[in-house]
Subunit: 221 residues, 2 copies
DNA sequence: CACCCCTTCATCGTATGCGATATGCCCGGG
DNA sequence: CCCGGGCATATCGCATACGATGAAGGGGTG
């Protein structure tokens, strides 16, 4: 039964998988910006592979909603619609509230330590004002939390939604004060997890997402 | 800004898209059962196309989590892990509660009529005991409801989660009494929507998913 | 001078073919 | 009788090549 899970982690990665990982990371990091054109032939030449692995990677990205392709007119990185962001945050609030409640019930000490390690790194990065690593660490925090909830599907949903938020956030400049608030709210979630208090954890997680939503989409209307 | 949305509905469908639709439908209907092997060469011969469109379709299905592929050892329809189903239902409860609440605030009369039409069809199918169309209609119901919430992302999440449930449900025989309960609970959701009562709609939707979860995963442990 | 059509080009979509590799069977040894 | 190694085969992964189609620019005409 766990076999199906391991099967999704291919031991040997095909070239298409490597291209997929590369492009996905580039989109997540903002190296490929929304609306930017992707030329498949050029990409194939640059990476030293043929178009086929490129096409397969692009198809997967399209299924993920990260790129859009119009026939015979190129592939572009998907736009993040500001109006949709509100829906994304609402979904995150629902899912991460659920996740935090479940995690409080069943989180192991090892995973709690892992979460605290991520939190510690975020504090360090904030202290040295090296902000560029913070989005990745923030993703790690939410991913570890979601994994602690015990259901793979919840981790996947969390990852998927947070990626959209990261892509949207690229369009706005870094804001140190916001990161300080994020880290403080993460601390509250961790505190509730330490007490194994599902109700408080869910409340803290929902408040965290809600506050972030206010920060990111309030000025859009 | 809405352009990006329309771009995801390609006007002209490539062969890869047709193969994708075909396979996805076959998996949803249960014609391709979990664990079943998919031979790409054979599929290419049967459909009269080369392997390339097949491969691209399979890559998209893999991104959707509907198939798993191990290198040089074939592609199989993904197993639906019974333990994961509990997580899927928890996620659905969170998302569809949110969806129903939003829908109650902003549903149009036209869309409400659409929802009632689906409900009417389900009643008809139950009356004539033609159960095989009910899963599809049930998907329609939840899809229309999610679209009424106004955020594309919520509709996509709903669709994705419900597809997993449908695939799991294939493994168990049809149960007329269960469909009667489903339809009754749908009616309660519709009633709350008619009154434009977000709180009641959310409560009814959550109760609906929760009851279904009890029905489908209770006997698994 | 403006508009339209036609040609040209760039880019996508797909077929074919070959190399790589995991799987399963068969045979020999313990 | 059971187990391990080697070979045949099926299947996948990728490169090359060609056809199809939308986009853009230039020239001609009203």
């Amino acid at each position: 039964m766990t076999q199906a899970n391991w099967a999704r982690l291919p031991v040997v990665k095909s070239k298409a998988d490597l291209v997929y990982d590369s492009l996905r990371a580039a989109i997540a990091e903002g190296d490929l910006k929304p609306g930017e054109r992707i030329n498949m032939d050029e990409l194939a030449r640059n990476l030293g592979v043929s178009k086929i692995p490129i096409r397969e990677a692009v198809k997967r990205l399209e299924a993920d909603g990260l790129v859009v392709s119009r026939v015979h007119s190129g592939v572009t990185v998907a736009q993040v619609d500001a109006a949709e962001m509100r829906g994304v945050f609402l979904a995150r609030e629902a899912i991460e509230g659920l996740v935090a409640g479940l995690a409080a019930e069943r989180i192991t000490d090892a995973r709690l330590a892992e979460l605290e390690a991520v939190q510690q790194q975020m504090r360090g990065r904030l202290g040295t004002r090296s902000f560029q690593k913070l989005p990745e660490l923030n993703s790690d925090f939410h991913r570890v939390l979601a994994e602690a909830a015990g259901y793979r599907v919840l981790a996947e949903l969390t990852d998927q939604l947070l990626l959209t938020v990261r892509r949207h956030r690229i369009t706005v400049p870094a804001d140190p004060e916001n990161w300080a608030r994020v880290i403080a709210e993460h601390e509250e979630i961790i505190a509730a997890l330490r007490r194994r208090d599902p109700e408080a954890a869910a409340r803290a997680a929902k408040a965290h997402i809600s506050a972030q939503a206010d920060h990111e989409v309030a000025d859009q209307e």
